[in-house]
Symmetry: C2
Subunit: 112 residues, 2 copies
DNA sequence: GACAAATTTGCACAAATATGCAAATATAAG
DNA sequence: CTTATATTTGCATATTTGTGCAAATTTGTC
């Protein structure tokens, strides 16, 4: 159970943890409209096939969504889902400070 | 430069995006006291040298802190730093959305 | 100084990964 | 039907990565 979740999270982080894939995410982040692969592959100056493969990996991890439109694929970010997973991990990491019960579901204040 | 920041973030995510390394992080997360490598390497059943290398990678990315104590190295999580970086990315990803919500725990997003 | 314990490093190796090119596929347009 | 465009897939390849074992290193204990 826990292992599977950890593996899934590791897969997500690994998907995001590659420069060109993260660049694709940032590119999708900046443009307000969804984009196709030809447009996206320019941001990291790689072959279209490479961008296609990267976007597939991101889609497998739920980072992006794919919509078929004619001969194009329109990609868009699964914004809240990804953000929530990242925040969940952040909460777990930050919430582990000494004297915090393991089952409490409270959100610790951002420490600054 | 933006590229460098993106690369650094990708490196952090890559460091976290490996099962055994993430297990080490979770292990450090659960135990209230800092731990040495011998203790930590049990959680992912790998050789001590492997755990040492993984912890080194985590340290290079600022995920963990190392303190020398005798012949041991005591590892502890850089909790708020890592959490803040993850939340920063989450904010960037979610902040590019026209309307943000769908979360039970709503966190005011950073300025865009 | 001799020995034990914790950690790092060198080495080897298998597996995974990122990449580009060319071919195949899908679909729109003429 | 033919052509053009967007994407995927097959193949080859160079690089990275995770791993274990043994040796080296560091440091505490006797």
């Amino acid at each position: 159970m826990e292992r599977i979740q950890h593996q899934a999270l590791a897969d997500l982080l690994k998907a995001l943890g590659e420069f060109n894939r993260l660049s694709l995410v940032y590119e999708l982040c900046q443009c307000d409209k969804p984009r196709n692969a030809m447009c996206l592959c320019e941001c990291c100056s790689v072959d279209a096939s490479v961008a296609s493969r990267h976007l597939k990996i991101l889609a497998e991890q739920g980072v992006v969504q794919i919509k078929k439109k004619g001969r194009e694929r329109i990609y868009s970010l699964n914004r809240s889902e990804v953000a929530n997973q990242l925040r969940s991990l952040a909460d777990q990491i930050e919430g582990c400070s000494p004297a915090v019960s393991t089952t409490t579901n409270h959100r610790p204040r951002k420490a600054i």
